[in-house]
Amino acid sequence: MVRMEDLSEPEVIGLTSFPTPSYEGSPWAGGPPLSQRRVAIVSTAGLQRLGDETFTRESGDYRVIPKELAASDIYMSHLSTNFDRTGFQQDVNIAFPIDRLKELAEEGVIGSVADFHYSFMGAIAPEQMEPSARRLAGLLKDDGVDAVLLCPV
């Protein structure tokens, strides 16, 4: 967990200058036990397959990362220069913990791993992602997903 007291002052000022959205209510949805859930990853790390369209300042959409895609085919085109990429460079699971999810499925901790996972690029206003996020919810339902691991970067 990154804490404000561990950041430089320009970083703190930059982060705290962002507006904080507010929401009406706080919906809560139940579901089956974790051991029966089908889990997908939704990242904001700007992940993509090599050859996919890279993320830009206008990219409110997402890229699809199939479950069996080799780590060597997963790239990052996030626009921000501020976050550390060395972890992702050494192990894709730092930003996209797909191997850990597969292990948890084998151990019976979760029910299964979704066939498809998704990445947005977080350096963009959330409102620009909303239409794509709503479409993505339908795709997740079609894949039988009932739990999403949000991996913000």
Binding site: G14, S17, S77, D84, Q89, Q90
Partner: protein, 214 residues
């Protein structure tokens, strides 16, 4: 950590906000500071003109190449290449912005902003992957300090800031302002660039920042 996060799904009521008590380990106490054993160019000399920057960066890439290749082999992957531009060509493209006119966009299907941004990330990734492949278990912070303090590539990024900030292309100005140099490295920028950054954040806290800039 994943199990702890997923277990929150079984809470009966929400929202749930839990702090995970373990932090990532930093450098071991008493451990020697990591030092890159690969000779770097001398940024002060490289800074004299665009040709100097290019020579410095290409020389460094040549010296780092063996570690980049070994790291790629060990991990079975590299994150360099998202720009679709060979990394040496990426370096030439970046350096050309310091000259009278940038070279032709090597990715004509992308805007100059997008091509340059991706080229910058590829060049930086080449250095970072080469550094973490060397013995010594360098931390992310140590690699970053090395890149920004000791390499011609880091100095090249710094030298680009005033050039892009003065561009007629508003996207390139935005790149200079927000996407070229990490906030953690702001204090190493020349005074004018630092002030541009802070003004862009709309801050009123300049007086509380690094004494160098107040």
């Amino acid at each position: 950590m994943l199990i702890a996060a997923l277990a929150l799904l079984e809470e009966e009521k929400g929202p749930v906000l839990e702090d995970f008590p373990e932090d990532a380990l930093g450098p071991r106490a008493g451990a020697e500071a990591w030092v890159c054993r690969v000779p770097m160019s001398r940024p002060a000399e490289a800074a004299s003109d665009p040709t100097g920057y290019l020579g410095g960066v290409l020389s460094e890439m040549n010296n780092l190449g063996v570690w980049y290749d070994l790291g790629k082999e060990k991990r079975g992957r590299t994150t360099v290449g998202v720009s679709g531009i060979e990394v040496e060509a990426a370096a030439r493209f970046i350096v050309s912005f310091l000259g009278d006119a940038p070279v032709e966009n090597p990715r004509p299907d992308l805007s100059v902003f997008d091509a340059l941004k991706l080229a910058l990330e590829d060049l930086r990734a080449y250095y970072f992957e080469s550094a973490v492949s060397q013995p010594g278990n360098a931390s992310a912070g140590q690699v970053a300090e090395w890149f920004w303090d000791e390499t011609s590539a880091g100095k090249l990024f710094m030298a680009l800031e005033p050039v892009l900030a003065g561009s007629d292309d508003k996207k390139l100005r935005f790149l200079a302002e927000r996407m070229l140099i990490p906030r953690r490295q702001f204090h190493k920028m020349p005074e004018a660039g630092y002030q541009r950054y802070m003004a862009s954040l709309g801050t009123r806290h300049l007086s509380s920042l690094d004494p160098k800039h107040t």
